[in-house]
C-alpha cells in the first residue's frame, strides 16, 4: 500500500514538480538571530487570508444596490448561520491587517531593512499599504448605512482637492452625478475585484523580492549556523498567528459594530466619523481652514509618504544599528507619535450636537404607531408587512407620509389621501413625525402612563399649542404651564375654556377626551415649571 502511495506521489512530482516548489518555498535559510520581530510579515499575510476567506463568505449574501445593501448586511448579521461572527471577523480583521501592516513597516524602518538591495521591495510594500487602506475605504461604504454614506461623502470631496483634475477623480469615484447606486456598484467592484487583483500581484512581488534578496536579519549580524524557515521560523509565525487569531475571534464573537440607520442624504443630526485608522487624517483636516485645506488633505500625507518612499536613498550609511541612524529614526518616531496623537484626538472628539431629541408629538406618534390598528393590522410578525423597527425605515419621507395617511397607497401621488377629522389629521401628522424620527433610532423609554398622556396631547393639543419649541402657534405656549396655572384650572380650561375665560376661542374638550385623560394631561402640564 505504502509503495503505491509513494509511486503516486512520485508520479505527481514528475508531472508538476511540487517537491521543488515545496523545497523552494519552505527551505529558506534564515540568518542566525532571526527571531520574533520577523513574524510580522507572516502575521499580515495571515490577516489578509482571513479577509479573503470571510469576504467570500459575505459576498455570498451581499447585494450592492441602495435598496438592498443595508438589508442584505442586516440579513448576514441576523439570518445567516454564523453570519454575525463572519461579519465580525471581516470587520475586526481589517483592523488586524492595518495594525500588522504598520508594525511590519515600523520594524523594517527600525531595522533598516529597506536598504540596498531591497529598495524596490520597500516601494512595493508601501504600495501594498495603500492597497490595504483602499480596501478599508471601499469596504466602509458597502453596508450603506449612515456611517458608510457620510464617510464616503467626505472621502470623495477630499479627492476633489487633487490639483488640476480633482473633479475628474471625484467623478470617477462617484460614478454618477451624486453618491448613489453607481457609486455603490463601483466601489463594490473595486473592493472585490480590482483591489484583490492588485493585492495578489503585489504580495507575490513582495515575497518574490524578499526571497530574491533574502531577509535582512538582525541589525548586527550574529555568529552561528543559519536555520531553515521551516519549521523554525514557521513555528514562530504560527504561534503569533494563533495568538492574534484568538484575540480576533474573541472580538468577532460579539460581531461587528451594529449597523446604523440606512443612508439618509438629508440627515442633519448624524455625526460622521471614519474608521480609527483614518481618524488621524480626519483630525488633521481641522487644522487647515479655507484654502489651506489641500495642505492637510493631500500635501502633508503626500510629503510624509514621499519621504518614506525615499528612505533607502536618504539613509545610505553602512551600519543598520539604531544609534548610527538617529537622523532617520528620530523624525520617524516623531511622525508616529504625531499620527498616534491625532488619532487619539480624533477619537475623543465626539460633538454633543447630534442628540436627536424626540419632541412630544413624535413620542406620542410612536405610541400610536405601536398601537393603532391602521399600522398593526399589517405590520406585525406574521402580518402582510414586516414589523416597524426603529432605524430601518428606508422609504422616502413623502412615501411614508402618504402611506400613513392612506395605508393602501403604493406610491406617493397615486391616490389622494382620504380627508379625515381634525383629530385624525393630527394623529396622522404625529405618526409621520414619529416614523421620520424612527429612522435614526427608537424613542426614549417612558412608562405607559406618560406615553399615553403624550399621545393624547399630540392628538388633541399639539396642533394649536407649542411645547419645548415644537407645535402650533394658535394657542399659548405650554412649555412652562405649571408656573402660572394649577392642575385644577388647567383641567377646567380643557373641559370648558369659556367657564374660566369667557373670551377664549379654544374649543371645549369635555366630551371629546375622557375625564381621566383630561386629569392626567392637566397634572402633567401643571408639573411643567
Amino acid at each position: 500500500m505504502k509503495g503505491m502511495w509513494a509511486s503516486l506521489v512520485d508520479w505527481l512530482d514528475n508531472r508538476t514538480g511540487f517537491r521543488w516548489l515545496r523545497h523552494h518555498a519552505l527551505d529558506e535559510p534564515m540568518p542566525a538571530g532571526t527571531g520574533w520581530w520577523f513574524t510580522l510579515g507572516s502575521l499580515l499575510l495571515f490577516g489578509l487570508s482571513i479577509q479573503v476567506l470571510t469576504g467570500i463568505g459575505l459576498a455570498l449574501f451581499y447585494a450592492p444596490t441602495p435598496d438592498h445593501a443595508w438589508d442584505s448586511v442586516r440579513y448576514i448579521t441576523t439570518g445567516v448561520r454564523g453570519g454575525a461572527f463572519l461579519r465580525g471577523l471581516h470587520h475586526w480583521g481589517a483592523s488586524v491587517v492595518v495594525v500588522a501592516a504598520l508594525l511590519h513597516l515600523a520594524r523594517v524602518v527600525f531595522f533598516g531593512s529597506y536598504r540596498k538591495p531591497r529598495e524596490v521591495n520597500w516601494i512595493v510594500g508601501l504600495v501594498l499599504l495603500h492597497v490595504i487602506l483602499a480596501f478599508g475605504l471601499t469596504g466602509y461604504l458597502l453596508p450603506w448605512d449612515q456611517r458608510a454614506y457620510w464617510a464616503t461623502v467626505v472621502a470623495i470631496n477630499i479627492s476633489k482637492l487633487t490639483p488640476g483634475f480633482g473633479e475628474v477623480v471625484a467623478s470617477l469615484l462617484r460614478g454618477g452625478a451624486d453618491i448613489g447606486a453607481l457609486t455603490l456598484t463601483r466601489w463594490y467592484a473595486i473592493h472585490v475585484m480590482v483591489l484583490p487583483l492588485a493585492l495578489v500581484t503585489l504580495v507575490v512581488a513582495h515575497l518574490y523580492l524578499m526571497r530574491r534578496h533574502g531577509i535582512s536579519g538582525p541589525v548586527r549580524p550574529q555568529a552561528g549556523p543559519s536555520q531553515m524557515f521551516f519549521p523554525h521560523q514557521a513555528a514562530r509565525d504560527l504561534t503569533i498567528a494563533m495568538l492574534v487569531g484568538i484575540v480576533l475571534a474573541v472580538m468577532a464573537w460579539k460581531g461587528a459594530p451594529p449597523l446604523e440607520p440606512p443612508a439618509d442624504p438629508t440627515s442633519s443630526n448624524y455625526i460622521p466619523r471614519p474608521e480609527w485608522y483614518f481618524l488621524g487624517l480626519f483630525q488633521l483636516l481641522k487644522y487647515f481652514p479655507g484654502r489651506w485645506e489641500v495642505v492637510g488633505a493631500l500635501v502633508v500625507p503626500g510629503v510624509a509618504m514621499g519621504l518614506l518612499a525615499l528612505l533607502p536613498w536618504l539613509d545610505r550609511g553602512r551600519s543598520r544599528e539604531a544609534r548610527r541612524r538617529l537622523a532617520v529614526l528620530i523624525p520617524f518616531t516623531f511622525g508616529l507619535a504625531v499620527v498616534a496623537t491625532l488619532t487619539v484626538l480624533g477619537a475623543r472628539d465626539a460633538p454633543a450636537v447630534s442628540e436627536s431629541r424626540w419632541n412630544i408629538q413624535e413620542i406620542g406618534g410612536a405610541a400610536m404607531v405601536n398601537t393603532s390598528e391602521r399600522c398593526t393590522r399589517c405590520h406585525r410578525p406574521d402580518g402582510l408587512a414586516a414589523p416597524i423597527e426603529p432605524g430601518r425605515i428606508s422609504k422616502p419621507g413623502d412615501w411614508v407620509a402618504m402611506h400613513i395617511a392612506d395605508p393602501e397607497v403604493i406610491a406617493a401621488g397615486v391616490r389622494d389621501a382620504p380627508q379625515g377629522s381634525k383629530t385624525a389629521q393630527a394623529e396622522t401628522k404625529a405618526m409621520i413625525a414619529a416614523v421620520s424620527h424612527l429612522r435614526s433610532g427608537p424613542p426614549p423609554a417612558l412608562d405607559s402612563a406618560t406615553t399615553h398622556v403624550y399621545s393624547e396631547f399630540a392628538r388633541q393639543c399639539f396642533s394649536c399649542h407649542t411645547l419645548d419649541g415644537a407645535g402650533g402657534k394658535d394657542g399659548p405656549d405650554l412649555s412652562h404651564a405649571g408656573l402660572k396655572l394649577t392642575a385644577d384650572i388647567i383641567e377646567q380650561r380643557i373641559i370648558d375654556p369659556k367657564s374660566v375665560k369667557p373670551d377664549s376661542d379654544m374649543p371645549a374638550f369635555g366630551g371629546k377626551i375622557g375625564p381621566e385623560d383630561i386629569r392626567a394631561i392637566a397634572n402633567w402640564l401643571a408639573s411643567r415649571k
Binding site: N157, S171, A177, D178, L182, P289, V353
Partner: protein
C-alpha cells in the same frame, strides 16, 4: 544566426510587442470608456420648497426637496436640503451642504448658528463662516415667492 536572421527576429519581436500593446490599449480603453461617468444634466428649475406660512419667525426652516432621479439603472429620489429664512421682507435660501467636505449642516437652536458635524465648521445665520475649516460661506440658492400660491420656490 546571421545578421539577416537577427534583424528578422528583432522586427518580428517588435511586431509581437506592438500587437500585444495594441490589444492591451484597446481593452484598457474599453474599460476606461465604460468607467467614465456620463455627463450630468445640471439644468436648474424652479421648485416649491415650502409654503410661506411654514416659516417660523425666529429661525431658518429646513426644507427638503425631493425629485425623481435616474442614478444609472436605479430610479431613485434625490433629496436636497435648503434652509429658508425671511430677512426683512425678502426670502433667502442657503444650501445645507458644508463647503468644507460636503457634510450636512444643521441649525443649532442654542447657539443660533449653523454647525457642521464633521470637522466643526460654524456659520452664522447669513451663512458666513465664523469658525472651523470651511473655505467659503454656505452657497446661496436663488429663491422667490410665488404670490399666487404663497409658495416659496427655489431654483435647483
Amino acid at each position: 544566426m546571421n545578421a539577416h536572421d537577427s534583424n528578422r527576429r528583432k522586427t518580428l519581436a517588435g511586431l509581437v510587442a506592438a500587437g500585444m500593446s495594441l490589444i492591451g490599449a484597446a481593452l484598457a480603453g474599453l474599460v476606461g470608456a465604460a468607467a467614465t461617468p456620463r455627463a450630468v444634466d445640471r439644468t436648474r428649475k424652479w421648485r416649491k420648497a415650502a409654503s410661506m406660512f411654514d416659516l417660523p419667525p425666529d429661525q431658518p426652516f429646513a426644507a427638503v426637496l425631493a425629485d425623481r432621479h435616474a442614478d444609472g439603472w436605479y430610479e431613485t429620489r434625490k433629496e436636497t436640503v435648503v434652509y429658508l429664512d425671511k430677512v426683512g421682507e425678502e426670502y433667502r435660501a442657503l444650501s445645507a451642504t458644508c463647503t468644507h467636505l460636503g457634510c450636512r449642516v444643521s441649525w443649532n437652536l442654542e447657539t443660533k448658528h449653523f454647525h457642521c458635524p464633521c470637522h466643526g465648521g460654524v456659520y452664522d445665520r447669513d451663512g458666513r463662516v465664523i469658525a472651523g475649516p470651511p473655505p467659503a460661506p454656505l452657497a446661496h440658492v436663488n429663491v422667490r415667492l410665488n404670490s399666487q400660491t404663497s409658495d416659496i420656490e427655489v431654483e435647483l
